[in-house]
Symmetry: C2
Subunit: 356 residues, 2 copies
Amino acid sequence: QPYRIAVIPGDGIGKEVVPEGVRILEAAAEKFGFRLDLEHHTFGSCDYYAEHGTMLPANWKEILTPTDAIFFGAVGWPATVPDHVSLWGSLLQFRREFDQYVNLRPVRLMPGVPCPLAGREPGDIDFYVVRENTEGEYSSVGGTMYPGTEREIVIQETVMSRHGVDRILKFAFDLAQSRPKKHLTSATKSNGIAITMPYWDQRVEAMGERYPDVRRDKYHIDILTAHFVLNPDRFDVVVGSNLFGDILSDLGPACTGTIGIAPSANINPEGRFPSLFEPVHGSAPDIAGQGIANPVGQIWTAAMMLEHLGEVDAANAIVAAIETALREPASRTRDLKGTATTREAADAVLRAFAAA
Amino acid sequence: QPYRIAVIPGDGIGKEVVPEGVRILEAAAEKFGFRLDLEHHTFGSCDYYAEHGTMLPANWKEILTPTDAIFFGAVGWPATVPDHVSLWGSLLQFRREFDQYVNLRPVRLMPGVPCPLAGREPGDIDFYVVRENTEGEYSSVGGTMYPGTEREIVIQETVMSRHGVDRILKFAFDLAQSRPKKHLTSATKSNGIAITMPYWDQRVEAMGERYPDVRRDKYHIDILTAHFVLNPDRFDVVVGSNLFGDILSDLGPACTGTIGIAPSANINPEGRFPSLFEPVHGSAPDIAGQGIANPVGQIWTAAMMLEHLGEVDAANAIVAAIETALREPASRTRDLKGTATTREAADAVLRAFAAA
Ligand SMILES: CC(C)[C@H](C(=O)O)[C@@H](O)C(=O)O
Ligand SMILES: CC(C)[C@H](C(=O)O)[C@@H](O)C(=O)O
């Protein structure tokens, strides 16, 4: 049985890095003896929007539901479509309607990557951010009173459900329990966000009682971002709401050198719907079209997807190839202070993958 | 006429660093020839709460309104009073009821402070975070549906008013316009927080038209935190909502070495109510009572307060003394990889102040 994969490059550098991710997928299939059935789609992009007036075709769910996974690039082209329209009409809709309630993002200092933090070595920083991915601060509930006048008031609701909070905490505690350090850090802001965040804390306490072997602590999000910079070696698994997880999973990769290499998985753990895999970076209009985007985030994303599909050896081999390649200057794009093009950097990883 | 200053040490290390801040204030009054009328208060602390069951006396507004400024330490002692109770019953109430809608926080890399970012020198990082301080994500509006059941849903509203957004933007644009770089960065998240944040962007655009000489850009909060680490030299004035400003004004000081030295001002620009000055750090229960807290944040806070009162020379002299003192190991507390006690570090600043 081949794996059915929907490939959605999206916008901007998504269109440049996804083909490189596909190359490593094909090399991995060849080397590890599995088959891929790749279905390439142009929807979920602002180009598609320009032509059709919507981000997705009406039957997108029928198209994507039977796939085993979605291999996604990046979406957004604010010059032609406002971000909230393009994102809510594609990525955020997938996350919600496919109930991909876990957003999992590794933060790891890789060899060869210049670290912006002084005195940190590969191995010092190695943790996961687990982000709630379907509710919380990203709601579409709210509106405007007295629009366009001096008295204008705009309201948006943050919504947390016990169902939604407990299931992400369970995933995070399970992950922490499976790791040697068994340490879970919760991101909160219960001193200022005085209704939803104390509730979050309370659920963390309740869930924690079921995991007596997991050491847990919590920090308010403001000081937590400070600790990411000052004490990144302190973390093992960090769990946060949709917004806090979003922030921490850009900040974490930045502390390890670049968001250009960071992957992420949007997971429906029950497997009722396909999960979606995408790099942490966005469509990067500022560098799009120049062939200089870092493809490593998309390639590492391919590894996360294969791991999810059960091809663990292939996934590990890709991550090892990334680690090997990043030691050579040939793999380093501009964000890593190198001069490699997207294609050259991907070639370096593919070479390391073939040689291993 | 002496300046009437309310002194509220609060909890934890607030009680240890406020006396050091008072010492520099008294030295400055002596040296620069102005008078201080200091009113010391024990309210606004969890000790007070333990005795009275409230954080503040009923007549706190009558007591504080006639003062020229409030010199504040830190509040919060979660072991005895939940943070949201202690904070909403004191600091957050002052900010709101005294309409201190500007929270102003300098981010500056000081000489002698070990920088966690590789290769950054004093002078490279020097900007302000301007935080909206009275509305936004810090609302008390919301509640719980089906409490205590599996179906529990908790909702909290973010509220932005045109009045509230425009006045903080005006302050930020005015500040940017007064500085050589004339550069304003807005923190947003309009791709995900799709109601209030597009509104924020729209008001930034509208206000920006009135400041054609101010260059403006905007970043989503996730990638903005990454830029604080990767490109902190890019910023001049950064404006954000209550929550985003809160995060950025802890992260910024962390990127310059420690939040232990960072000051902040909660300002009512119209002067209808007293403004409140406090260090960025909190009450730090983990190190409280040991006499090892860094007093420099409180001392720099004293300088911000004097500047606000019009004693600009005294304020500059204090900042200069901090810069001198931080070059000597004698001034460095544990957060700065030194061994100085609170008192010793303050002595070092006072010596430099006296010598200048
Ligand atoms: C203590 C807390 C409520 C407060 C805030 O979030 O405003 C603090 O973090 C600050 O930045 O002054
Ligand atoms: C593009 C944006 C809506 C998205 C998010 O905030 O979730 C992105 O930042 C991410 O982290 O995947």
